[in-house]
């Protein structure tokens, strides 16, 4: 399959199902255009595998424009590959060189069990959100603009936290498979705004309890999560999570 473009050696984690034993398989892929995205490169591989009557490699993807949080992949040991502030779908093959070997693994976390090949089950995040990542308000007509004053810096910090797309790269990159950055972003985006205030204490207590129940690790302040986050959610949110939790435990009526 050699031709124009790059020739790559891909070492990909193959696992038939959640309980099956997985292993790495090596594939040679030629003619890879540097303008392809990483997922398009995998598409090409899959088409060739199908043509040869082999099982295609399963991987998660959806919008392919960096906003949905579906794509994952540990590429050469880095969540979403070598670039900062980039999802796997926005990573381009020009980032690699002809002749490179690329190791592709799924996110590794007990709370993110492998479904198949490179696809992991991230519903643990949904269950955490279900415990409090929302505001209970009556919907209806939109309120008058500015009837609830929000300081600009709070609004910006809330927006920064709300940029989280829930992809799970923080968990994947953390040496402890901790979900603190995700949970802190979801707690912060609401705790910083008046709409989130009434449920702030209950939210943080319940979300932290669910996070622990799911089996995520603890934070050791190494900030690999922040470095791996494609949405650049800052780890200062984790400090806010710590503050909000202490405040809720010590000062509110909530029983942890």
């Amino acid at each position: 399959m050699a031709g124009r473009g790059m020739n790559l050696t891909l070492k990909i984690w193959r696992q038939a199902g959640p309980k099956a034993k997985g292993e790495f398989q090596t594939y040679k892929l030629g003619g890879v255009s540097p303008d392809m995205s990483f997922l398009e490169m995998l598409d090409v591989l899959n088409e060739q595998l199908i043509q040869h009557g082999e099982e295609s490699v399963a991987f998660d993807h959806d919008c392919r424009e960096g906003i949905c949080g579906m794509c994952s992949l540990m590429i050469n040991g880095q969540a979403h590959g070598p670039d900062k502030a980039t999802t796997t779908c926005q990573l381009h093959m020009r980032r690699f060189r002809d002749g490179d070997t690329i190791v592709i693994e799924p996110w590794r976390a007990t709370a993110f069990p492998v479904v198949r090949d490179l696809v992991v089950d991230r519903s643990a995040f949904d269950r955490i959100i279900g415990q409090g990542g929302f505001v209970s308000i009556n919907t209806g007509n939109a309120q008058d603009a500015n009837c609830l004053p929000v300081p600009k810096h709070n609004q910006e910090k809330a927006m920064e936290a709300a940029a989280c797309i829930g992809c799970g790269a923080c968990v994947a990159a953390c040496k402890n498979a901790s979900a603190m950055l995700f949970v802190s972003a979801k707690v912060s985006q609401l705790a910083l705004l008046p709409q989130g205030e009434p449920e702030a204490a209950r939210r943080v207590v319940k979300m932290v309890a669910q996070m622990d129940k799911e089996g995520f690790g603890g934070c050791t302040n190494t900030y690999e999560c922040e470095a791996a986050c494609p949405a650049e959610v800052p780890a200062s949110n984790i400090a806010r999570l710590n503050r909000e939790y202490m405040k809720a435990v010590l000062l509110s009526d909530e029983m942890p």
Binding site: K175, C219, E224, A227, A239, Y245, M255, P256
Partner: protein, 255 residues
Amino acid sequence: MKWLLNALSSSLGRKFVMAITGLLLCGFLVAHLAGNLLLWAGADVYNGYAHKLHEQAALLLVAEIGLFALFAVHIVLAFRLTGGNRMARGQEYAVKQNKGEGDGVGWGRPDSFMFISGLVILGFLILHLSDFKFNDTDGLAPFDKARAVLRTPLRTAGYLTGFLFLFLHLLHGVASTFQTLGINHKKYNQLIRIVGVLFSASVCIGFASCVGWAWAFTGAPSTTPAPAVDQATVSQAEPTPEATAKPEAKSEQTN
């Protein structure tokens, strides 16, 4: 009070306990170092300090129980947290690379081996306690004992290794404590980092200076030579007027 137990045993709560016990242990380090630095002030000052300290039997007992509790909690939680973190990963990556800079020291990543550095410090702690706390047999005055123990090459190497790992442990630990306690603010972050580095370095250099002292000090042993004094070190330590004058001069400065 079940709510408090629940909160403290959550992943966040355990980290608070780690941070607070760590900070309190830092306070102990400062007190311990302040005592040790009196070695530089000469035999009389150091022995006087040691005797006064040991006269406070009740206070000492409370302090020792408190210290033991602090160490025990910090160490047991370290094992539990590390075990939990390993479990949370499950299967290890075949390839893993960092994207961030960690503590930004430019070499190594103290934040990535806190458990290992902690284990080395625990080993050092056991060595240190067996040398000074549970070793009363030689009957030396505290000043002479410190010198006799620290002057052996094996102890010098062991103690300096302990201090080096203590430095690495504190380098991440001190600044990290603030984040865990919720203190992360752009006005103070740089200050916290600088304080963390300065604290770690000065504490460890301070302790290491005591080992240096053991080798540098050539003055007389304490006034009452005890029977089990290492003859070799005593015969080397001829009291010369120069050497005895030095520590006295130091003690004046300290006072």
